[in-house]
Symmetry: C2
Subunit: 337 residues, 2 copies
């Protein structure tokens, strides 16, 4: 069985949705085992609502909770008995294969790197969410873990992202592109200009060159690499602009009796189409390149995203992604600084 | 009269839409004079379609055209008799106050800086488009002119952008923010960390701190400063994601008889709401900080955007924006490199 340590207390909807998501995951897959880490009484009270196979779940007591606003480094260092820190230690000590949390992004990033630790050969694990396009998803690396990156970091992310997309998402020979301000090879900032030839020289990835941000939502690439500052801007602008436009459309639909009738006629089709823009079916954002797997879901994740994140960890572990990553980085010059 | 040199041959829809836009501008404002620069015969043929005051327009012959795909530096250097280069020289020689083109971005950037030249004290003129939000517009500086920027460039852009928004767009005490990956003051890459205290120390701008990309479409700031790499990603992702989502919605509306009937009921309201997201009423993207004004419209600009860009130049010149910019930069340490 693949064992996932779930931070049952993390996120806006914990522990209700975290516990529900855990139950949904183990009910969906008999090879999945979940450690629910957190306040014992609270978790057990939630668990009482469900029927499930007791051999696939265990509650692990943790007396503290890290709040979203807390300074991450301090929180991880001081709250040793928090659900987040305790669950991460279970991965470090190989009691669990992977970790899932909807809690503080900062604490997950810090804790993932300092407690779980990096895989052999990995310089900087990137936060690598799957982001929806008009016709699928792409993996964005790095979406927020490492600002002021170096060219060799981006090359590693391209390799790791390709392995992830091929094995976990099932995209054959994924197209890798680097975010740029134009398509000509002489375009770009210094980081891009230095990284481009390194990516071009990799014979184990399908590098298609530069991608302008305009083409990203059109599905122009399967793995999009960039510095974490740029990646974070892409991810958050996606959320802000997508959310804002949908709110505007809803406002239009609800503005009068006439438009409300119109809304009834298009509602089902609209929902169906927008569902394809929801990446939560793929789980959360993995911090790839650690000794195990650390997955961060949205802070407001509901049970479905928790469930899918747990199943994502199971697939990741079963597919031996980390072995593949270590192997792909073997021939790279490393500067483990 | 304020004189605007229009590159009549630039853009996908030239010279039909450029000539039409020029006519619309001079018919809208009797203080506006337009030089239509380009192939004389072609322009005169278009002009024959319109009635207008001949004292407000003059055709200036230019025998060459710079195409979108040409390498900008070479094109500007070699095609001395192109409409783009000739129109820029008219600004340099003070025959015209401003320049408008829907042509090659690269050639406009290169030509603007090398032919027209920088204002006293300006280090790097930023490409500064007005970008729509859910309830207005913000000025984005820099959207593509200067990658790998320095902190003092961004400070100048904050000042110039504030002057533009206050005087040309009419936003009182515009809120200035720097793009960042979080709101806490310790967040950011090196550029942001170095720029933040400099912006905080400016007493002539209304600096409100960091802005995450998620809040940009919500109208979280009136002037958004960032490195041109990041700005270009913001601008192009806006176009790509906005366009993609609207295409998806259109697809929904056209998918069946039922949804087509629904579409009829919401059409007018939807158009009205989406019109508020169209920034072309404000004209094109100004390259601010030159001895004159250089404005780049979209490559596919129609007459309305051309017209508004010309009127934008008139307002900019009448409001003495360049004097205000020079004055605001006087007390800054300059390193005109």
């Amino acid at each position: 069985m693949i064992k996932v340590a779930l931070d049952a207390m993390g996120g806006d909807n914990a522990p209700k949705e975290t516990v529900k998501g855990a139950i949904e995951a183990i009910n969906a897959d008999s090879d999945t085992f979940v450690y629910l880490v957190g306040l014992e009484d609270v978790i057990n009270k939630e668990l009482a609502n469900y029927k499930y196979n007791k051999d696939q779940l265990e509650v692990v007591a943790a007396s503290e909770v890290i709040e979203t606003g807390e300074p991450p480094v301090m929180a991880v260092r001081r709250k040793k008995d928090s659900s987040l820190v305790k669950a991460l230690y279970m991965v470090k000590e190989k009691k669990a294969d992977a970790f899932v949390s909807a809690g503080s992004s900062g604490a997950i990033l810090v804790g993932g790197q300092t407690i779980v630790g990096r895989l052999k050969g990995v310089q900087r694990p990137p936060m690598s969410p799957l982001v929806p396009t008009m016709n699928g998803v792409f993996l964005l690396a790095d979406a927020g873990a490492n600002v002021d990156s170096r060219p060799d970091f981006l090359v590693q992310w391209a390799k790791m992202g390709s392995i992830y997309m091929e094995n976990v998402v099932g995209v054959k020979n994924p197209r890798v592109a680097i975010v740029n301000v134009g398509l000509e090879e002489e375009k770009g900032n210094q980081l891009v200009k230095e990284t481009f030839p390194l990516l071009k020289a990799c014979d184990d990835i399908n590098f298609i060159g530069s991608i302008e941000a305009r083409e990203i939502p059109n599905g122009g690439a399967d793995v999009v690499v960039c510095d974490a500052f740029v990646g974070n801007v892409i991810l958050k602008l996606y959320e802000g602009l997508g959310g804002g436009l949908l709110k505007k459309i809803k406002g239009v639909l609800m503005s009068s009796l006439k438009t409300k009738i119109g809304a009834l006629l298009i509602k089902n089709k609209l929902k169906e189409e927008l569902k394809t823009m929801d990446a939560s079916q793929y789980g959360g954002a993995p911090l790839v390149g650690l000794n195990g797997l650390v997955v961060k879901t949205h802070g407001n994740a509901k049970s479905t995203e928790i469930r899918n994140s747990i199943l994502q960890c199971v697939k990741f572990t079963k597919m031996n992604i980390n072995d593949k990553i270590v192997k792909s980085l073997e021939n790279m010059p490393t500067a483990n600084d």
